[in-house]
């Protein structure tokens, strides 16, 4: 039995099909988005659609080659690949020319590549290699440290290239860590951070007229913190009794607050602070008396949360750069500036919205063809789908992505070796991050973070990066069967 036949038999065809569909639809969308009235041919290699065809052809070669290579090579060379990628990222900082403020492109004559795209799969391989060591467990500071280093070091390098969007992608690996044993509570805490941040930034300066509640943002945050506290207690205790006790106490405080406000105006937030402070003291007291570590955790959570609430405004105003601030404000509908900061998103929504149910038809998208949406063949490529193919086309494309990600989860889970599984989760996590942030941005649900839509966006680096990432996984999957036989 020749090797090719076994490859054809054992390769995961659904993934290949979805991949081919996405790449093909991406190519057509790039053609529509970068349509030039003077160069209408899709095969004109001076135009973006033509170039994208070249990148696609290269990707296919790349993908095919990767399938030919022995799968064990990744396990063996993972660190070397990672080191190579890190090296590229470092020299990029020094060699890359300044393109629109970012120094992330290495220029080789007519071809430019973005090493950050290659850093993702390299990091994934390194993580898989390290975490698949015999007896490795994601527990204890000593075991976490190298993992954090593998994730955060390349991320830092990308940040130094002023590519904030690509750097944030590395956070996606924490999703993989969750699958590999990182406490779920950490993910939940991250979620809490985001929720509190949004609430404080969005509603921190909102004061409802008439109602004597102080800052709406802080009141909502307090309620959120208290509910989370009760949630934690419920999960840890698996008993509703202590939760009910807390609820009664809070109820009494609320009644006093409302009653008092009939006579004198007292800010409701003061009662909130009082409730939280009292809870913290009580929780510490119980944890000392009953030696309950969980209660200590909850108390500490509450202290940090409330401190975080006070610092969120500071972070927003002082840590973020002005353009990032604006992008967030646009998403939170705090700023409506369709000609300025909100231009991209507004035009993107117009393009997608004008597609309606059936779309305007291939190449009939006026908004995209006439370049109303900036970056529409790269980061905003999904606009073209939304405008020309409407609701059904958009849902189809989103469905393909979801199908691909779920399929990859399935593939990852069926690996015999932790290496394959960990790597599989890395691929899925990175894809998911790109998918959620890119589409979210285009639909006006997430702030504008410039990361491409995998397989769709124009550009060789991104396409090659994702192709390599995906086909290594497919090769590992084939390898799993090889070892079985």
């Amino acid at each position: 039995m020749s090797r090719n036949v076994s490859l054809a038999k054992s390769i995961d065809w659904p993934t290949i099909v979805i991949y081919l569909l996405l790449v093909l639809m991406g190519w057509i969308s790039v053609y529509g988005a970068s349509y030039d009235f003077d160069h209408p041919s899709i095969f004109d290699f001076s135009q973006r659609a033509g170039k994208q065809l070249l990148w696609i052809a290269c990707s296919f070669l790349l993908g095919a080659s990767l399938l030919m290579i022995d799968s064990r090579i990744y396990d063996v060379f993972a660190y070397f690949i990672f080191a190579g990628a890190v090296f590229l990222l470092i020299i990029t900082i020094f060699l890359a020319p300044d393109i629109k403020g970012s120094r992330s492109w290495l220029v080789f004559g007519p071809v430019s590549i973005q090493p950050a795209e290659l850093g993702k799969f390299a990091t994934g391989l390194a993580l898989a290699k390290y975490m698949s060591q015999y007896n490795y467990k994601l527990k204890g500071f000593k075991n976490y440290l190298p993992v954090l280093f593998i994730i955060l070091f390349p991320m830092l390098l990308v940040l130094l290239q002023k590519e904030t969007g690509s750097a944030l992608v590395f956070l996606a690996f924490f999703l993989m860590l969750y699958r590999e044993g990182m406490p779920g509570v950490l993910l939940y805490l991250a979620l809490c951070c985001i929720v509190l941040f949004i609430v404080i930034v969005r509603f921190g300066d909102v004061f409802l007229q008439g109602a004597n509640i102080g800052s709406l943002g802080f009141l909502v945050s307090q309620i959120f913190i208290l509910i989370t506290e009760l949630g934690f207690i419920l999960v840890f205790e698996k008993n509703t009794k202590p939760v009910l006790l807390f609820l009664k106490a809070y109820g009494i405080i609320a009644v006093i607050a409302i009653g008092l406000n009939f006579f004198i105006k007292v800010d409701y937030t003061y009662f909130g602070y009082f409730a939280i402070a009292a809870s913290i003291i009580y929780l510490f007291w119980i944890s000392i008396r009953q030696r309950r570590k969980n209660y200590t955790f909850v108390a500490i959570f509450m202290i940090f949360s409330i401190a975080y609430c006070f610092s969120a405004d500071y972070i927003f105003d002082n840590v973020l750069e002005p353009h990032q601030e604006t992008r967030i404000k646009v998403v939170l509908a705090m700023e409506d500036d369709p000609t300025g900061a909100g231009y991209n998103v507004n035009q993107s929504k117009i393009a997608i919205g004008s597609g309606q149910f059936l779309g305007k038809g291939f190449l009939n998208g006026t908004q995209t063809k006439l370049k109303y949406v900036p970056e529409q063949d790269t980061d905003f490529i999904f606009c073209t789908v939304g405008e020309e193919h409407g609701f059904w086309g958009s849902v189809l494309v989103l469905g393909l992505y979801v199908g691909l990600m779920l399929r990859l989860l399935f593939i990852a889970e069926r690996q015999r070796e932790p290496f394959g599984r960990i790597y599989g989760y890395c691929v899925t996590s990175v894809l998911f991050f790109h998918f959620a942030i890119n589409i979210g941005m285009v639909l006006g649900l997430a702030p504008v973070i410039g990361i491409p839509l995998p397989f769709f966006s124009y550009g060789g680096s991104s396409l090659w990066g994702f192709t390599i990432m995906l086909f290594i996984m497919l090769r590992l999957d084939v390898g799993r069967l090889e070892q079985m036989h």
């Binding site: 919205g353 004008s354 908004q367 006439l370 109303y372 589409i439 979210g440 639909l443 649900l445």
Partner: protein
Amino acid sequence: MVNDDLQGRKTVIGGMIIFVFVIFVFQLINLQILNTSYKENADSNAFLKRIQYPARGLIYDRTGKLLVYNKPAYDVMVVIKEVEPFDTADFCNTVNIDKNLFVRLIKKIKADKGYSPYTPQLLLSQLSVEEFAVLQEKLFKFPGFYIQNRTLREYTYPCAAHALGSIGEVSQNDIDKDNYYTQGDYAGKSGVEKFYENDLRGDKGVEILLRDARGRIKGKYEKGALDKSPVSGKNLTLSLDIDLQMYGEQLMKGKIGSVVAIEPSTGEILALVSSPTYSPSDLVGRQRSKNFTRLNTDPYKPLLDRPLMARYPPGSTFKVVNSLIFQQEGIITPETKFPCHCGFSAGHLHVGCHCHASPLDMRESLQHSCNAYYCQGLRNMLDNDKYGTTEKAFNVWKKDIVSFGFGYKLGVDFPNENRGYIPNADVYNKIYGHGGWHALTIISIAIGQGEVISTPMQTANLAAIMANRGYYYPPHIVKNIKGAKLDPKFTQKKFTAVDPKYFEATVDGMEMAVLGGTATIAKIDSIRVCGKTGTAQNPHGKDHSIFMAFAPRDKPRIAIAVFVENAGFGATWAGPIASLMMERYLKGHISPNRKYLEDRMSNTNLMPFVTKR
């Protein structure tokens, strides 16, 4: 499996993926299906509807001579967002404006209500061909500036300004009333241009262009399948005889007044002179507003369309109508004689008359324009018992008068016709109380004075009724609209309340007036002219000179009314002018023995002295 206890977490991750997917689908439903404003937004973004202006209809006279046509003009448009630094001095020189004006124009554009930096705004209108040619050459130096083609009206003859009318930029009111118009469009503002606006303007075409985010044009939408070509306006043939019109304007030079000539057999207006007049090209192009202000403040009111809007007492021309009504009502027969002792006397009342033989019959009364005859006639009618009361008798008289086209609009094809004024009994009841008035109270209306008011057009129409012996077609100036039908009311005979059989005697009187009465100056060799002089008393100054006539007596081809303000007796000025015009129209030339008359008319200035405000 290595870590089975963590197996459940794949479900959590899968759930997150599906959760995000569901949120996206909801947002897509919101954007693409529930909210339709994005679609409208997109269209206004991307489609530039460029209007293509149709050529306005041409205007010809009754002999086929071209009167009004179009010439190209060029507007300078500016898209502020596309303007890059340029040589302002060079630009201003090219279009012949000074720099301060340029700065002011830009400021004005930006202050405009509908201002947008992305769309073309009108900077300068109506460049001359020369300015256009130079600017076109240099346009590449001035990014953001564009030239838009328009058409202006051009006139082959410097006359008939009031009849032709003018076009001007539409007002906000016009735009609100008719969605055909948009800001900056032109529409008829007066005369034929206004009345026949819908025929003349044509249909606008539209070119739907695709415009990219920077405002650049990227070709036609759907390859032009939805474009519409403009349809030119319809050409008009006027009933005006431009030679007669010019001749009339020449005769009326230096006078205030009107000439209206009508072809009785059709109601077509042959000449429509309003004096003082101006050249129609004064109100075209960039000098329009300057000239308009000048004409509008002129104390002689050259913009007033006098044939249709000036209100005069009809004077003695009214006797013609009264002679017919009295016959119809059985008050007199042509043979009835009334005495006249240099006027009409009844008690304390005395209406003067020049002294002539007495008594006179009806024909002679017209010949000599006897005041007493008509005062007596009116008195006999209003005091006649067969009507019951004076009031009832008066209303019969009023009904008869109105049937001659007085007191109401004739329905001519002009936008600003005045209806004149004929009172009814209620008016007098209001003034004098019920029963507080009788024939003698209002006797001056018998001779066309007092409350009765007519326009020159109505008087000319009376001449046409006389020519037709009892009916008229509503006067109109458009003979033919190419590709459309004329309003049918212009081809429907309108009979008066007086039986045609009574007309011949009155016509006798009119002819006698010319042959040997008050209007002998209007006599034309070898043509039987019937006419009636009028002298309308004018409380503000010298009497108005009035003359109405038609000729020839049999198969009349022209009916005419001439009003010359503050010129004295009808026979002195209005008569000769009417006569000369009829001669010119019927014979094509003026006989040598009347040349002196022509010269005197053309060269006399009768303009009253008016201090300029």
